[in-house]
C-alpha cells in the first residue's frame, strides 16, 4: 500500500470516526487545537492507527504527535518496520 492510499484511508477514518470536515484535514492541522480531538479521542485514534498498520500503538510512540502529518509519518514508519 503506497503513501497516498494510507493517507486516503486515514483521512476517511478521521472523517467517519470524529465527524470531521474533509477540508479541515490538512497535514499541518493540529489534532487537539484544530480538529477538536481530546484525550478520549486519542484512545480511538490509537485504534484507527492499529487498524491501518495491524500493530498496537504504545503511548511512547504517540507522545510527540501533534498534527495530521505527524500521525501519517508514524503510520508509515510502523508499516515500514512491521
Amino acid at each position: 500500500m503506497n503513501q497516498e492510499d494510507i493517507s486516503a484511508r486515514f483521512h476517511k477514518l478521521l472523517v467517519e470516526r470524529f465527524e470531521l470536515d474533509p477540508a479541515d484535514i490538512r497535514p499541518e492541522a493540529r489534532l487537539y487545537e484544530d480538529l477538536d480531538l481530546d484525550s478520549i479521542d486519542a484512545i480511538d485514534l490509537a485504534i484507527v492507527v492499529r487498524e491501518l498498520t495491524g500493530r498496537k500503538v504504545t503511548p511512547q510512540e504517540f507522545r510527540h504527535v501533534r498534527t495530521v502529518a505527524d500521525v501519517e509519518c508514524e503510520i508509515r514508519r510502523m508499516i515500514d518496520e512491521g
Binding site: 467517519e16 470516526r17 470524529f18 465527524e19 481530546d38 484525550s39 478520549i40 479521542d41 486519542a42 484512545i43
Partner: protein
C-alpha cells in the same frame, strides 16, 4: 413580566447577607476540618470512611442552604414526578450557579461528583474533596476517569457531572463538552438529566457573592427519568467517538429545549 428598576439597596442588602452566610460557612468548615473530621477519621473503619465524610460535608451544605433560604436570598425547589432511583446513574446537570451543586450535595449525601482539580486542591476543602473519594476530572488519563465512574456506579453511587465543565455564563449559549457522554458510553451508565433553572442569575460567572440580585433567587431543579445515552444520540452505534459527539449535541439540545419551558412543567423524555 413587568420590568422593574434595579434596586441597589436591596442588592447590597442581599450581598451583605450572602457575605455573612459564606463567612459563617467558612468558619463552620474550618471547625469541621479541625474537630469533627479528625474524630470521624479516628473512629471510622476504612470502608465506611468516604461515605461518612460525604455525610459530614452534606451537613455543612445543608447548613449553608438553610442560611441562604433563611436570609431570604433564595428559594430552592425540586420538581420531579417522584425522585427516581438514582443508584449508579450519571446525573447530568447544567450548572447556572454554585447553589445547584451545593443543594444537590446537601440533599443527596451518597452522591459522588466529577470534580475539577481546583476543588480537589482547594486550600480549605481539599481534605473533604480528597478523602471523600470524589472523582477527579483527569484530562491526562481519561481511562482513569472512566474506570473511576464505572467503579462508583457499581458501588451504587449516583455520580453528578456537569458537562459544561464549569458554571454557565448567563446569556451565553450552553456549551457541553464531550466528557459526560463519553463516560456514560464507555462506563455503561444510565443517565438522569437534571435541568436547573436559576432566576435571576446569582453566584455565577459575573455575579459573585458581592453582586447579588435585588430580588430573591428562584432555583428549580427538575429531575428527569433515567434513560440511556443512546436516547440522546438518536440510536446506538458501534462507533463510540461518533456516538459521543452526537449524544453531546443531543444533550445540549435537550437541555436548551427544557430550559425554555416553564420550570413547573414536567421534563419530557429525550
Amino acid at each position: 413580566m413587568e420590568t422593574h428598576g434595579f434596586n441597589r439597596i436591596e442588592s447590597l442588602r442581599h450581598s451583605a447577607l450572602a457575605g455573612l452566610g459564606f463567612a459563617i460557612f467558612g468558619i463552620v468548615a474550618l471547625f469541621g476540618l479541625f474537630v469533627p473530621l479528625p474524630i470521624l477519621l479516628l473512629v471510622t473503619p476504612r470502608r465506611l470512611r468516604e461515605q461518612r465524610i460525604r455525610g459530614l460535608a452534606s451537613v455543612g451544605f445543608r447548613l449553608l442552604i438553610r442560611m441562604i433560604e433563611g436570609f431570604g436570598l433564595a428559594d430552592i425547589e425540586v420538581r420531579s414526578d417522584g425522585i427516581p432511583d438514582l443508584a449508579g446513574c450519571l446525573l447530568v446537570a447544567n450548572h447556572p450557579s454554585y447553589l445547584d451543586a451545593v443543594f444537590l450535595m446537601a440533599h443527596l449525601p451518597r452522591v459522588n461528583c466529577v470534580m475539577k482539580s481546583s476543588l480537589l486542591n482547594h486550600p480549605l476543602f481539599f481534605p473533604f474533596t480528597r478523602l471523600g473519594g470524589y472523582i477527579a476530572c483527569d484530562n491526562d488519563d481519561p481511562q482513569k476517569l472512566i474506570e473511576a465512574c464505572r467503579a462508583a456506579s457499581t458501588r451504587g453511587e449516583p455520580i453528578l457531572i456537569f458537562p459544561e465543565g464549569t458554571r454557565s455564563t448567563p446569556g451565553a449559549p450552553l456549551r457541553f463538552r464531550r466528557g459526560a457522554a463519553q463516560v456514560a458510553l464507555r462506563a455503561g451508565l444510565r443517565i438522569v438529566p437534571l435541568v436547573v433553572h436559576c432566576d435571576p442569575p446569582a453566584l455565577t460567572h459575573g455575579h459573585p457573592w458581592y453582586r447579588m440580585p435585588d430580588r430573591r433567587v428562584h432555583l428549580v431543579i427538575r429531575f428527569g427519568a433515567p434513560c440511556d445515552i443512546a436516547d440522546f444520540a438518536g440510536g446506538s452505534s458501534e462507533d463510540l467517538s461518533r456516538m459521543a459527539r452526537r449524544a453531546t449535541r443531543g444533550l445540549e439540545n435537550y437541555f436548551l429545549r427544557q430550559l425554555s419551558s416553564k420550570p413547573h412543567e414536567p421534563l419530557l423524555p429525550p
